[in-house]
């Protein structure tokens, strides 16, 4: 029982920081990094004119009606 509280507190405080940093890492590598990669992938080979022509053919633009 000697120094039980100190031992337990040290263990659990260390555990608490590990849990919180683990949550941060899960969010960063599970959500944030995939989102950054998704944006980079989208714009890597993005052709705005091709995208525009597809939308124009679908008739969504007022200023650019389909031929």
């Amino acid at each position: 029982m000697r120094r039980l509280l100190a031992r337990r507190m040290k263990f659990h405080l260390f555990g608490a920081f590990l849990v919180s940093l683990g949550c941060a890492a899960i969010y960063k590598f599970g959500v944030a990094e995939p989102r950054k990669r998704a944006y980079a992938e989208f714009y890597r080979n993005y052709d705005p004119m091709k995208d525009f022509e597809a939308m124009r053919r679908a008739g969504v633009f007022e200023s650019a009606p389909p031929k």
């Binding site: 509280l5 337990r8 507190m9 659990h12 555990g15 608490a16 920081f17 849990v19 919180s20 940093l21 949550c23 941060a24 969010y27 960063k28 959500v31 944030a32 989102r35 950054k36 944006y39 714009y43 993005y46 705005p48 004119m49 995208d51 525009f52 939308m55 969504v60 633009f61 007022e62 200023s63 650019a64």
Partner: protein, 227 residues
């Protein structure tokens, strides 16, 4: 526009919005860290694994002063970086005025042609099939894509706010004041927004629609509409 039951941001269509999305991920990660720490400690205390009758705790007091200061710095630095980035107005290709009225927007393109028009919401009874309820307007704001645009925003009567989430723009329209904002669309498309400051009975019924097209189509449109 947002899908039903959408919780997160709309996909970014401007560089500033991309930065804001990234910053939001960073801020949410910090918030998750703190919340999980607090939840863990709370659970321990409820399970009576942590208790103390300490009267002197200089070391832990130091830790829980320094650590939050570091967290605040980690949040403040990217936040200020984006704040100053949003204020950079670097030689815009076009200046456009948006004026809020009860309950419609009017737009003025006075750079090279004397072009102005009102933009009213299309009522649901007149809405063509496949169009978005309470979001479509009779005259859209057409802008050239991938060009820096400067918006001057004001109001004619009461407070309004010109907001387009996907472009990362929300600027108050205040009577007697000109507010300035700028954006660049990274891709062509139709971007929707709604008035974001309570302005009366039809506050929810004065949407904003921005149409981003290649420069040639923008020029054709501006010639047609001004004639």
């Amino acid at each position: 526009m947002a899908n039903h039951s959408q919780l997160g941001f709309q996909d970014a269509s401007s560089p500033i919005m991309e930065e804001l999305v990234e910053f939001h991920d960073h801020a949410l990660m910090v918030a998750l860290t703190i919340c999980s720490l607090v939840l863990y400690l709370l659970t321990l205390m409820l399970m009576e694994k942590l208790s103390s009758n300490t009267v002197d705790a200089q070391e832990v007091e130091l830790i829980w002063t320094i650590l939050p200061a570091i967290v605040l710095i980690l949040l403040a630095l990217p936040s200020l970086q984006i704040l100053y980035m949003m204020d950079e107005i670097d030689e815009p290709d076009l200046t456009l005025k948006a004026i809020g009225h009860q309950w419609y927007w009017s737009y003025e393109y006075t750079d090279f042609k004397d072009l102005s028009f009102d933009s009213y919401m299309i009522p649901t009874t007149d809405l063509p099939l496949g169009h978005f309820r309470l979001l479509e307007v009779d005259h859209r704001v057409v802008i050239p894509m991938e060009s820096p645009i400067r918006m001057i925003i004001t109001a004619d009567d009461v407070l309004h706010s010109w907001a387009v989430p996907t472009l990362g723009v929300k600027t108050d329209a205040i009577p007697g004041r000109l507010n300035q904002t700028s954006f660049t669309t990274t891709r062509p498309g139709i971007f929707y927004g709604q008035c974001s400051e309570i302005c009366g009975a039809n506050h929810s019924f004065m949407p904003i629609v921005v149409e981003s097209t290649p420069l040639t189509y923008f020029e054709n449109w501006s010639s047609l509409i001004s004639s």
